[in-house]
């Protein structure tokens, strides 16, 4: 197992991405080790969201290689599905499904993607709702919750497939600062439990808390700062 821990969970080599003629990401090279937490920061338009959205193929990269958990991202739908099962994602606007209750939001993935029996899925959903400290909201609709509560549900939803990697795209960008701190604490706990986490942010507050910071500028990696391992 010790080998597995040292294996990078994400390997990106010479990756380029264009939106039309606009060159968003330029020659990205990045290795993320298991159980590492990296904060991706940079000015708006620097390509930080696009970078993590490429990792679970919400965006397609045009050149280079991305390998997640040993699976290379290609046009093969089977690979994309396999990677998406290993990656949980949390969004700035929560993106909960408003027509489903909180618990249905959580069980949708297990039931329809992993074919878990409903009862089992509901039990594990309740476990994760307790984990994010809002089990009493299970039967409500997302529209009835506050922003912070919604983001907790979104995190529980991202966790329910027990992914090795969690991507968070400006997860606190829509929350007031007190609520944002609570959500960041939650990510701290997940990190302590051994999840690999990539957090995209433009807020300095978030960057200060992390030991690893990756700075993007104009589509390039400007700096990778590993505070307990030095800079590169």
């Amino acid at each position: 197992m010790s080998e597995a821990v040292n294996d990078p969970i994400i390997e990106i080599n010479g990756m380029h991405k264009w939106f039309g003629r606009f060159h968003v990401l330029k020659d990205i090279n990045l290795d993320v080790k298991q159980a590492e937490r990296i904060v991706v920061c940079g000015p708006s338009g620097s390509g930080k969201s696009t970078l993590i959205r490429c990792i679970n193929r919400l965006e397609e990269h045009q050149r280079g290689r991305i390998v997640v958990d040993g699976i290379e991202l290609t046009n093969d739908l089977k690979n994309i599905d396999a990677i998406r099962r290993e990656v949980g994602m949390v969004f700035q606007h929560f993106n909960l499904f408003p027509h489903l209750t909180v618990i249905e939001n959580l069980t949708l993935g297990p039931i329809w993607v992993r074919r878990t029996p409903r009862k089992e899925a509901e039990e594990s959903a309740m476990k994760y709702l307790e984990r994010v400290k809002i089990p009493e909201q299970a039967e409500k609709f997302p529209g009835q919750l506050s922003g912070g509560q919604q983001q907790r549900v979104a995190i529980a939803r991202a966790l329910i497939n027990d992914p090795a990697l969690v991507l968070a795209d400006e997860a606190t960008g829509n929350l007031d600062s007190a609520t944002a701190v609570e959500i960041l604490d939650l990510f701290d706990e997940l990190h302590a439990e051994g999840k690999t986490i990539l957090l995209v942010t433009h807020e300095a507050q978030v960057g200060e808390r992390a030991e690893n910071v990756l700075r993007l500028a104009d589509g390039r990696i400007a700096e990778v700062e590993r505070r307990n391992g030095g800079r590169s």
Binding site: R85, V113, Q144
Partner: protein
């Protein structure tokens, strides 16, 4: 005095009791004051409206009910009884209005189809029906059961569709059109949004063709031209052709209504579904379509109602819906001159059906409202 005392006391934060609203802040009196006598113009308009109602309602009621004749064998007999409406005419022709020319000994089959229609609709319209899953299976089978009952075969005496008419014909065309145009419309709307060029171009071409051609033209095509395109010797039932044309026509409009709903779904919903590992069809079925269809309910029901009323157009290719039956009945010399009664009857029939649909749509919207509009 008591209330004033309560109001003037100082309460610690969070301990203030709920007080009743002062004066008439609610209730019917306030409604009347606000809506009918709110300003000088409103007062004038209220009195004017009341005057017109007083002028028009009593004579109308007199004509339609108090001075009306409900029995009689001819217009003359009616007029001898009472000076008002002659509903005896409608009563006399009622069976024709309902069944058209369906052979009398076989009419139990139409009645049975009507009853089974109610059974089939119940689980579709209401969620809390016991054994809903099993009943829904029956609802899916209903069109075929009804088709068999109405046209015959397999042990039942065959009845030609040229003998269909009246309310039976309206319901056959309306219900077929409604139940098939929604799924076809969904497929067309998804096709139009597809990134694959071939399905997209096909769907766009179809939708634009339908929207660019009047229904009457399509019905003429159905009645006259379709046989040119089919292999010689094919005997293609006229009613079936009309059903296909009406359904396709409504589907084109339905597709655009649903496309509007699809566009209102934020990209984040698709992304969340994708990042959970849901494929295109599952994401559509579980996430996007339930929301898009909910938003589209007013437009969908609008299309349904338009389709239902458009069924009267079949009169121009010789099929007799209630309006057609009414018009042809007016030619009877015994009953000549009663067009008002006929048209009111037909209007009331259509109004009840369409108003029912629109009320049900409102109920559905309220039921599906999950409060995410905040």
């Amino acid at each position: 005095m008591d209330e004033a005392a309560t109001e003037n006391r100082k309460y610690p934060p969070g301990c203030h009791p709920d007080l009743p609203p002062p004066g008439i802040a609610a209730g019917p009196l306030l409604w009347i004051k606000d809506n009918l006598f709110g300003s000088a113009t409103n007062v004038v308009l209220t009195f004017l409206a009341a005057y017109f109602l007083w002028l028009s309602i009593p004579p109308l009621l007199e004509w339609a009910f108090f001075d009306a004749a409900f029995t009689g064998e001819s217009r003359k007999a009616c007029k001898a009884q009472a000076p008002g409406a002659c509903w005896a005419f409608i009563q006399n022709r009622f069976e024709l209005f309902v069944y058209g020319f369906y052979p009398r000994p076989e009419r139990w089959r139409v009645d049975l189809s009507f009853i089974l229609l109610m059974v089939a609709l119940t689980p579709v319209l209401w969620e809390k029906v016991p054994q809903r899953a099993k009943l829904l299976l029956f609802s899916c089978a209903y069109p075929f059961v009804a088709g068999w009952l109405l046209t015959g075969g397999l042990g039942l005496k065959p009845v030609g569709t040229d003998q269909f008419g009246g309310i039976l014909l309206t319901l056959v065309i309306g219900i077929t059109g409604i139940s098939f145009s929604l799924p076809i419309g969904i497929v067309l709307a998804l096709g139009r949004q597809s990134r694959m060029p071939v399905p997209r171009i096909l769907c766009v071409a179809f939708i634009e063709f339908i929207r660019g051609v009047p229904l009457i033209t399509l019905l003429f095509v159905a009645s006259a031209m379709l046989s040119y395109f089919l292999p010689p010797g094919t005997n293609f039932n006229l009613l079936l052709r009309v059903l296909i044309m009406v359904t396709l026509f409504a589907s084109g409009y339905m597709a655009e209504v649903i496309r509007g709903g699809l566009q209102a779904i934020p990209a984040g919903q698709y992304e969340a579904a994708q990042s959970m590992g849901l494929g295109y069809w599952k994401a559509m079925r579980l996430i996007v379509l339930p929301q898009a269809l909910k938003i589209s309910i007013p437009g969908i029901v609008n299309t349904f109602i338009a389709l239902y009323k458009d069924t009267t157009l079949v009169i121009i290719i010789g099929l007799l819906d209630p309006l057609g039956i009414g018009r042809s009945s007016l030619a009877d010399s015994k009953w000549q001159g009663l067009s008002t009664e006929v048209y009111i009857f037909v209007a009331v029939f259509f109004f009840i059906s369409c108003f029912g649909m629109s009320r049900y749509a409102l109920y559905l919207e309220r039921k599906l409202d999950t409060g995410h509009k905040r």
